[in-house]
Structures are given as C-alpha cells and as structure tokens.
C-alpha cells in the first residue's frame, strides 16, 4: 500500500524524448504519433527572428496525472478505469468497451486507444512491468538524461518525493479543475 506520485523538475527537460522511447520499449506500446502514454509538450516560440522570447519556448514533460479525483474514472460506465491499492489510476482491459468517455473527460489528454487490446490505455507508472518485479523507478524516470522525474510514495514522509515537495515550490496542471493530480511540477 502506497500512494504513488511523481515530481517533475521540468526545467531540466531538453525534449530529447528518451522517456517516450523507454516507455514504449518497457511497456510494449504501439507505434504511431497518437499512441503514447507519455510525451513532451512543446510550444512554438513567440517573436520574430532574431527577437525571440526564450521563456515562450518551454518543454513540458507529461503523462497521466493520476488524479485523486480522476474524471476518467468517474465517467467510466463499466468501472474499467479504477484506482489500484497504490492510488494509481489503472485500466482493466477486460472491462473496457471502448466507449471513449474517458478520453473526452480527461482534461490532460492522457488517454489513447490501444488497437490490439481495444482498450483506452494510459500510463500506469509501470505498475505491471517494473513495479511488479520490485523496481522502484518508472522507465521514464530511470532513463532521463537530465533526471526530470522523481517517482515515489507520497504517504511516506521519508521518501525523496515527499522531501522534494516539502522543500521545493511546485504546481499542478489545471489545478482549478479540482482533479487533484499526483504529478507535481517543481519550480
């Protein structure tokens, strides 16, 4: 029993996409631009050459926010989307009927269709791969060149993520929606 979350030192991100490949290789994700559990968001720069705004060009690594109040879980008519014992938002492929309500409900665009299993898939913090065999990091955290991510138990006051959230300023995405994300962006 844990309550897993992730802190992202997002200013470190260089948009190399190592995390995207590691996720695909670890979890056997499909090829294709819309088939991914994890991504780096990029903003096209503002201004005219050579007067460009550096701050307007940022890289935002992201994935499922594992909301404590997840809209995707709420709207799922078959309870295919559920919270596991560690607070991770998971999908039961056997129950999913591909109604895609969850895709529309998710404010973070974190869900996509896996055409093999006919499931609306998503990040599960490598729960059925790495965590299942006793690893303590996700594939995306482990591979990152600039160490953007720290994954861990939010309920454990001695975990590194708890320490980070105590000592560093941070924010959540679209916090006004009240979804209570468990991804925290460090400033």
């Amino acid at each position: 029993m844990a309550r897993y979350g992730m802190a992202l030192d997002y200013k470190n991100c260089i948009n190399c996409k190592a995390c995207e490949v590691a996720c695909k290789e670890e979890n056997g994700i499909l090829m294709g631009a819309d088939k991914h559990r994890i991504w780096v968001g990029v903003k096209e720069i503002e201004g005219e050459y050579p007067f460009l705004s550096i701050v307007s060009s940022s890289f935002e690594p992201s994935q499922c926010q594992h909301c404590d109040d997840a809209p995707c879980q709420e709207v799922c008519p078959t309870n295919a989307t559920y919270y596991d014992e560690n607070g991770v938002v998971r999908v039961n492929a056997d129950k999913c009927i591909l109604c895609s309500y969850c895709m529309n409900a998710c404010p973070y665009d974190a869900r996509y269709v896996d055409d093999r299993t006919m499931t609306v898939d998503k990040c599960n913090f490598c729960s059925d791969t790495r965590l299942a065999r006793g690893e303590t990091t996700t594939a995306c955290q482990n591979t990152c060149p600039t160490k953007v991510r720290t994954f861990g138990d939010l309920d454990d006051p001695n975990s590194e993520i708890s320490e980070l959230l105590r000592t560093r300023e941070h924010f959540s995405l679209k916090s006004h929606l009240g979804t209570k994300p468990k991804l925290f962006y460090l400033t």
């Binding site: 490949v21 303590t136 600039t146």
Partner: protein
C-alpha cells in the same frame, strides 16, 4: 490563433501546425509518424513475461558516446535497455537512441549473410554466399571484379594500392590492426568530416583536446554547439540541470534557435561562420580593459604580447564585430566582462562538431586562447584534461613492405611560396577524405589505388557531394564493405561481410579519461544472429585466407624480403690472415621462411578471442578482480567498491570530491612548453596564420534570393546510422527543412509542403517547417536522411540527404570538409 490539439482531433485528421494549450501543452509531436506501419502494430515488447531473465552490462553504440547500459534478456530476446548507473561518463541515463538500440538489433533489413555482387556496380544486386566463398572472392575475385591477389601482383606489392576507411567505434581499433598489418599507408576515417579542426587546434594551442567541467562551471559560452540535441555525456546531463538561474549561466551563440537556446539564459543569433570575429572582440575587451588573469598569463602564455598587439592593432572592437556577426556590441562587452568575472570557473565550450567554415581552425585557436586568459585550464569549473587509467597492451603487427608507397598525398605546391600540400597545409593520420576522394577521381594520385576496405563507414552519406563519392566507389575495382546495415555505400560493394550489432559482441576494452576516470567494456548480450560475426572474427577468417597468398606476392616483388629469406644463418668470418670463410647455414630454407613469415603473418593479432584479449589487457594492470568486474558490471575503476554509492534515486557518487581529477597538470596547458601557444611560427611556414586573425573573405554573405544551408545533429538520430530505426522514426518520421516563417509565407510554402533544395552540387526534395527559429537568409535540415538504398525499408528516400547538396569545399589547414559554406535555392514543388 492558438489551437489546443488533442488526440481526438488528431485522429479526426484536423492536424494543425501551431499547438499550444492554456495551462498545459498537449500531447503533440509535430514531426511524429502517424502511420501504423501496415499491420505490424507490435514493434516493442512489454517486459516481464518471461521464464528466464538475464541482465547483462554492456555499452551503447547508437552514437559515439559509449554510455553504459544494462540489457534485459527474456527467454533469449532483448526486451529492454536500461541505463547502467555505474559508469561516471554516462552517469545514469540512456537517451532515446540508446533506448531504441533494440530496434537496431532486430531490424529486419539487417545484413544477415555474406554477399557477392552479381549485378552492375551500385545496382544492389548480390548473391548470398558462405563466409569461405566471400573470403575467396576477396582474394581471387569473380568474373565481375578482381581480387586482392591480382591487384597486388599487378601493382608489384604496393600495399598502398588499397584504401582502408572506418567509422568511429570501439572495434575500429580491430579493423585498424588489420590495416597496419596489411601495410597500406592510406587510412581515412571520420576525423576530416568530423572534429579534426577543433581537436587539432586545441591540441596545438593547449596541448590536448580538453573536456569541460560543466558540473562546476559558473558561466558557459556555448557557441556552435548544441548539447541539448547533439548529446554528449556527461556534458548534456551536467549542463542542463544547472541553467536557468540554478548555478550556471548559459550563453548560447547559434544562428538557429536550438533546444540549447531554449535552455539558455541568453541566446544570441550570429551570422554563420563569423564566430571568430565574436571571440576576437571578446579578447579585445579583455585585453584593453585588462580583465585577464595577469598572473596566469604571465606564467603560462607564449607569444602573449604579439597576440595582444595583433588584436589591439587590428582594432577588433565589439563595434567592429557587431557589423560582422550581427551580435550587438553591448552584448559582447557584457559577455567578456561576465566571463572574466567568473573565471576560472568559466568555460568557452570547445564543442565537438564537424568543421562548419573555412576559418574553423583559427576560431578554435582563438577560443582556446580566450579560455586561457581567464586561467580556466586544468582546473575545477574550467576546461580539464582529466586522469586516464592505463590499460595493458595488445600486440599488433607492423611488417615492413619495401614496395609499399607512402600515403597518397599530392605534395605539389599549389601556389608560389606555399609550402603545404595541394589541398591542405597539414596532413594527419585521419587525412582529408574529400581531398583524397577528389584527387582519386581526378587522377592526381602519385600511384594507382584500386581497391578499398570499408568498415562501418558510409561515405555515400557522410561527406559532401554524394555524386562524387558514387563515382569514386564505381571507379574502385574492388570494394569490400563490413557493416550491419545495407547502407548506400554497401550497395556499391563487391563483397559484403555482415558484422553483428553491438549487442551481439564483446568489443575491445576501453579507458575513459576525465574528472572521474573509468574503464568500461562492451559485453556480448546475445549470440550473433543469422550468419553475422564480430569484426575480430571476420578479420581472423579473412587473414587466414589471404595471409599466405599475399606473402607469396611480397616474395615475388620485394627484394629486401628476398634478401632476408636468402640469409640462412651463415656468417662470414674474416680470419687473421684476411681470408674470408663462411660458417655453415644454421637453418634450412623452410625454417628461415617460417621465421620470416612470422613477421608477415596477418593472422597473428586475431588469434585470440576479444574476451581473452580484454582479460589480458586488464589483468596485467589491475588484476583478476577487475576482469570479473568488467564482465559483470561493464565498468571498473580502482576503489570503486569504496567510492561508488547511490546518493538518491537518480544520482550516484563515483568518486568523493577530494578524489576527483580536476587538475592533473598543475593548472598548466599540456603543450611541450607547458604554455598556451598564441603564436605558432611553424604554422606560418606552411602558409597558415600563426595567430588567429580576421580576414575579409570570412565575412558572411548570401546572394539575393538564395539561402545559406546549415546542417546539424539531433537527439533522436545519429547521422545515417539510425535512419532505418523504426522506433526513432516514430518520433520524427523524416527530416524537415527549417525556413523562416515570413519567407515561407511570401513564397506560399506551408508546413509539410515539399520544396526542392538545390546547389551547384545537386538537389533534394524535402518537406518544409516554417519557423521563426531561423534567419530569413538561411535554411537548415538535419543530417542522415534520404538514403537511396532500396534495401532499407524505412530509410529509403525518406527525407533529404544534406550531402547531396553541400558543396565539397575544403578547409585549408587540415583539409576538413567545410559544411556551412554552401548557398542553395529553394523552390516549392
């Protein structure tokens, strides 16, 4: 208008260009591939469903960095590559290419069997043969091409009639051992199309090509280097954790707004090829305002007064540089002052890239001297030389062939009073690739070169003017290619020898110097697939076939060898009476021949397996435990058991602070004089400026309506070597040409439109990416795309090949290829 693009819209096919969210940025990758590759949905494998699992420590070879990886092998299949945290160079990371290494191993297009050409040269028609048949064809040829024996006999044992060329890699050494034993003087590698000028310029100025301590530097000027995209370990990891007000100020100087610019504190657009003027102006400010470290300069500089006089007399002011570089004078003043305020913990980053402009050697000299003015040499937070852990020796073989000619260099003076070679002032071991190729095509060789051995090297893609390279390969009577993939160059081969990938072989153990030195070894993860072999096995098989027949050819033509063989151990003794008597021969003819042949036995360096050679090289210095550590962990350094520990879930300690090798030479340069060399008189004799100066011919200009073509690297691709990697291609389907947004609009070019890019050399068609990240008179696309080999399912005619357009302009000092000197025209098609 800002559009938030969701996957739902993406699926509906309303893909727009500019993509921005309110508080979040959507899951969008503009360049990603959206095709599902027919029905082959499952490319990757979910880990953790196997009966038998093994974890094997190896080193990556998806680029040149050699990062440490752990391969997860499930029931004999490699399912995942993870970072190996034990290696101080790569720390605890694998980049996207490192992760995609599995696809290099399981690429369906891999070379699987030895091949012999049966069609016309370059046509790509081969037949599958056995290894023995392939070796036989190399020795004795077929009805389509002559073998080594015929060519060497006709050229009377001039071993230099064969060219040897290789790409960078840990096993390059093994192939080079074959080259040395074969006895040719013609060796070409990546250096003249890579970092020749930067490495050499730092070499003559500071005595070595240094590393940068980006972990401790407080101020970093990164000019013409793009560490966020052209990943170098550990620099990339060290730098970007500390920028944006977190310990290191990063100034990015680049004509393009790169990802490095996005992570910098300041980005200054510079006119391509004018960095030298920028550095000279920084130097001017530092000299005139007396900001330099006077004690350091006094003790550690040669020729300082002459250089100071030159810079001041030439009036290299920031105002002067502003006109040339496009960077405002006030920025130059500020950077010079800030750099020196932080020195010696300030780095003018040397970079490691190909030569962009004809003044590159002088630019690098000026950068090295500027670094020295702040005293940031061989010191924490500055440039460092690092400590090296020595390895034992593996004996090679270097027979003396009397008939072998010297390197095919045209030393005729190109102009009066110029004491250099025809196409460059200095010839080094790496040689000038394009100079060599062009001389060969123009019949300007001092003797005939008729064949070549090409290892893990793709000249068709890797050097300017692809047409000329194709002509060269067609003109070569025998081309032997050793490679893992059916590249464009392999298509021109007569004999193709399939090497296994890096995950299927153990490579020569290597030592990695630095602040935190280590020894690392690439261990075989799985057995070679199909009929592929590691290069050491290929060399063993080939030399067993050709060694004796080639020795016979030497015996026929080499008089020195004939004399040597005739000496059967008899000695002439002059008696007291002056009479000469001969002692009896101490050996038979056969015994003598065996003794002499031992010096020419090409099989000798390849007798042992790579594992045995590595064990010997390591055990002789560090003992058996080190051998075991390398086999198990892939990494070893003395006291690792005491020093190495996890600091957090992400970070590790390799050496305690007091054990780190920031300074190995007392803070001095490593030149023979132990001083920074400002004024090199010996260069003047070769027609090279002895001190960095600006010349009007270096100025940036583009004729109206044309564009300067820039090229560069990318975090998701390594030159042409990864072009067929399906997982990487999924991240970026093909290369796009950057063109200024306003210019594109004027010309009616939208995102994804096809444009033709043409120069004097040739033309390619490529899709457009209009952006404000590039100047209106420049265009850019990344290198490595647009292969023409039909055997590459995904890389074939995918995107554009920069070298089909870049002109073969030769840098004057080392004969390097100047990559940013080409003007192009753009036409929407």
């Amino acid at each position: 208008m800002q559009i938030e693009m969701s996957r739902r819209k993406f699926l509906q096919g309303t893909v727009a260009m500019s993509v921005v969210g309110g508080t979040t940025i959507s899951a969008t990758n503009l360049f990603a591939s959206n095709d599902t590759h027919d029905k082959k949905l499952t490319i990757t494998t979910k880990t953790g469903v196997a009966k038998e699992v093994k974890n094997i420590a190896t080193l990556c070879e998806m680029c040149v960095n050699k990062c440490a990886a752990i391969a997860r092998v499930e029931d004999g299949v490699v399912t995942k590559l993870d970072p190996n945290p034990m290696f101080p160079k790569s720390k605890n990371m694998l980049c996207p290419r490192g992760n995609a290494g599995i696809q290099a191993l399981y690429d369906p297009d891999r070379l699987k069997y030895p091949l012999i050409r049966v069609g016309e040269k370059g046509e790509g028609k081969f037949k599958r043969v056995s290894w023995e048949e392939a070796y036989e064809a190399i020795l004795n040829g077929t009805d389509k091409f002559p073998g080594v024996a015929k060519i060497l006999d006709e050229e009377q044992d001039n071993r230099s009639t064969f060219l040897f060329c290789a790409g960078e890699g840990m096993a390059e050494h093994t192939f080079k051992t074959f080259f040395s034993a074969f006895g040719s003087a013609n060796w070409l590698n990546h250096s003249s199309i890579c970092l020749q000028t930067v490495a050499s310029a730092y070499g003559v100025t500071l005595g070595a090509y240094p590393q940068a301590d980006l972990d401790n530097a407080e101020y970093i000027i990164m000019a013409g280097a793009n560490r966020a995209e052209a990943i170098v370990t550990p620099d990339t990891m060290d730098a970007f954790k500390r920028t944006k007000g977190r310990g290191a100020k990063l100034i990015c100087i680049d004509p393009r707004f790169t990802n490095t610019a996005a992570k910098a504190d300041k980005w200054l657009a510079i006119n391509p090829g004018t960095d030298l003027a920028f550095v000279l102006a920084l130097t001017y400010v530092v000299l005139t305002e007396e900001l330099y470290d006077k004690v350091y300069v006094g003790e550690n500089f040669n020729g300082f007064e002459e250089y100071k006089k030159s810079v001041i007399d030439n009036q290299y002011t920031p105002e002067w540089a502003e006109k040339i570089t496009g960077i405002q004078a006030e920025d130059i003043y500020q950077i010079a002052r800030d750099f020196m305020a932080h020195a010696p913990k300030a780095v003018y980053y040397p970079g490691r890239r190909s030569t962009f402009s004809n003044n590159d050697f002088q630019l690098r000299r000026a950068m090295a001297i500027f670094q020295g003015l702040g005293g940031g040499i061989d010191t924490k937070g500055g440039l460092i030389f690092g400590k090296r852990l020595e390895l034992g020796v593996h004996e090679g073989l270097e027979p003396i062939y009397a008939r072998a000619e010297a390197r095919a260099v045209d030393s005729s003076k190109s102009q009066k009073g110029h004491s250099g070679y025809a196409d460059c002032a200095v010839v080094t071991d790496g040689g000038s690739w394009i100079g060599w190729r062009n001389r060969f095509l123009e019949d300007r060789m001092p003797y005939k070169v008729r064949g070549m051995f090409c290892y893990k090297h793709n000249p068709m893609m890797n050097m300017p003017n692809t047409k000329k390279t194709a002509q060269m390969l067609k003109k070569m009577e025998l081309v032997v290619a050793i490679d893992t993939m059916p590249s464009d160059t392999v298509m021109y081969a007569d004999v193709v020898l399939p090497e296994c990938t890096y995950l299927e072989r153990t490579d020569p153990v290597n030592t990695f110097s630095g602040v935190e030195p280590a020894i690392a070894q690439r261990n075989k993860v799985i057995a070679p697939m199909f009929e592929t072999k590691p290069v050491i096995d290929i060399m063993r098989g080939l030399t067993e076939k050709i060694s004796k027949p080639l020795f016979e050819i030497s015996k026929k033509h080499d008089e020195d060898l004939q004399d040597e063989l005739a000496n059967l151990g008899e000695e002439e003794i002059v008696g007291e009476d002056g009479n000469v008597t001969k002692t009896a021969a101490t050996m038979t003819k056969e015994e003598r021949e065996a003794e002499v042949y031992a010096e020419f036995d090409l099989t000798k360096p390849f007798k042992h397996s790579q594992e045995e050679i590595n064990a010997h090289m390591v055990e002789s210095v560090y003992g058996k435990e080190a051998v075991e550590a390398l086999n198990k962990n892939g990494v070893f350094y003395p006291n690792m058991d005491k020093f190495y520990k996890a600091l957090s879930v992400n970070e590790y300690q390799y050496y305690p602070e007091k054990e780190k090798s920031y300074s190995v030479n007392g803070g001095k340069p490593k030149t023979p004089s132990q001083k920074v060399e400002c004024n090199l008189a010996n260069l003047e004799k070769k027609g090279v400026d002895p001190m960095p100066i600006w010349k009007d011919e270096y100025a940036f200009s583009v004729p109206g309506g044309k564009f300067k073509l820039l090229t560069g690297r990318h975090a998701q691709f390594t030159q042409s070597g990864t072009a067929n990697n399906i997982v990487l291609r999924d991240l970026m389907h093909e290369n796009y040409i950057w063109i200024n947004k306003r210019v594109a609009k004027e010309r009616g070019i939208a995102f994804g439109d096809k444009v033709e890019v043409s120069s004097k050399t040739g033309s390619v068609t490529i899709k457009a990416y209009p952006t404000e990240k590039i100047a209106p008179n420049q265009v850019f696309f990344i290198h490595g795309f647009g292969e023409e080999s039909e055997a590459l399912t995904w890389a074939y005619k995918n995107g554009g090949n920069d070298n089909a357009v870049i002109e073969d302009i030769i840098e004057p000092v080392y004969g390097a290829a100047s990559m940013h000197e080409t003007n192009v025209e753009i036409r929407k098609v």
